[in-house]
Amino acid sequence: MANLQNIRRRIRSVKSIQKITNAMDMIARSRFNAARDTLLMNLPYVEKTRDIIRRLMSQMKGLEDQSPYIMTRQELKEIQERADGKFLFLVIASDKGLAGAYASNVFKEAHETIEYDGDDEGSDTETQEENFHKRNFDAVKDLKKAPRQQQLKATKGVATAGARRARPSGGGSSAGGNVGVAKEYNDAGYIDDVELITVGRKATTHFKQRGYNIIKQYHGISERPSYQYAQEIANLIIERFMSGEILDVTMIYTRFNSAISCTPDDVTLLPIITDDYAANTNTKEEYIYEPDIVSVLNNFLPQRLATRIYGAMLQSAASELSSRMNAMSNATDNAQELVGKLNLYYNKVRQAGITNEINEIVGGAEALK
């Protein structure tokens, strides 16, 4: 029989945990409201910019030579033929934990995209979004250096087993014993072909543990994104892209649907492949560019990149805070329930003790007769 003091102690500790989670819930809630307001203010801008890009790019076929950011898939292949290109990924996650599955969902999506090796049949279902990385990869995968292919095949068996073991815990940053396996797996396949930019401490630790090449990391900006950082990241991406070593740049972030729903999402930032936009062309109308096409595009597209990253950072921030809010309010509810159960148990034990004592007294009195 558990003793009363232990139960009391347990109740006290659960109650104080409940106070903490409740406080965190309220903090997250007020920050979330601010983040959502900023996001809602930014949304029309991002949407209008996207509309313009869609209209513009549908007319862009044949004009790929006017801007380094625009090309056909054929050109992408030619670049890969000249030199072995890498893929750059921007992963936006959180600085802190205690936000439910927020970070691990981002990592799951990130791994799925980064580790894509061309045999995913389900890739067609994702094409309604602007994730063209898989198509880009498919286009160049046959041109990738031969050793990589062999390596992939040789380690495939171990790899999948390793991956399977590594994945479930892959979410948290405490993969612990799986690190070795995961690293081996990654080394074999694609790690040399991948560069990462991470936003958020969680993302950095997660990918560093797995041995990825992180070229730049941003900490302390995920909850309150500022345009200045988005601009900085955009400049870095453009610099890397213009170096010619990067085949494509893909961003993984969390799209904010509502306070209770957010989904990880990935979009390809650069290059803009005209083939992807030409499909929904119905009219062929020439655009006029003032002063001229080259300077307008070379100012507009980097600007678009920065606003898009900023938008994604805002979406991620709102998602992170709403996830934390939900996680913390669930934790508070659970603590409440646990306290109730423990109280019931405590009273039962107490009552049992009293009954016992009465029994002893009655028994003692009987014996004296």
């Binding site: 203010m41 801008y45 345009y227 020439e286 006029i288 002063p291 100012n299 507009f300 600007q303 606003t307």
Partner: protein
């Protein structure tokens, strides 16, 4: 009179303006442009200025802090870094900003080693401040 829809959006304050207008006069990096309904498709970069919106014979001003403009036959979209309607502008703040910007531009002109970015930034701040005061119809200089 035929109309064309004008939409102005900014990154931090959402949609500033959305209405049917008769004519829009803006200043792009290449010079002034007048946009009438059923204009050909056009994409251009805007400098900070006060753009003129003509509706039903009247004309109103909007202060634009630079950005881009896309024109399709039925829609003008202005992606502005900042945009302010006359009612949103605080004259005192705008005057103070103008003064600061003028001082900065003057300071940069005196230094021998010029950093191009800073000069561009100061100049665009100056243009923004002037645009605001122009919109508010406040004389300056």
């Amino acid at each position: 009179m035929s109309t064309i829809k004008l939409e102005i959006v900014t990154p931090d304050r959402g949609e500033i303006l959305s209405k049917d207008i008769n004519m829009l006069i803006v200043r792009s990096t290449a010079g002034e442009l007048g946009i009438l309904p059923r204009h050909a498709r056009l994409l251009t970069e805007l400098v900070p200025h006060a753009m003129r919106v003509k509706v039903d014979g009247g004309e109103s001003l909007v202060a634009i802090g630079g950005g881009f403009m896309e024109v399709t036959p039925e829609l003008i979209t202005v992606l502005a870094k900042s945009a302010e309607l006359p009612d949103d502008i605080d004259v005192d703040r705008a005057k103070a900003a103008l003064k600061r910007a003028e001082e900065r531009v003057a300071a940069y002109k005196q230094t021998t080693k010029e950093t191009l970015i800073d000069i561009a930034r100061a100049n665009s701040a100056l243009a923004r401040a002037k645009a605001r005061l122009l919109v508010k119809n406040v004389p300056f200089n």
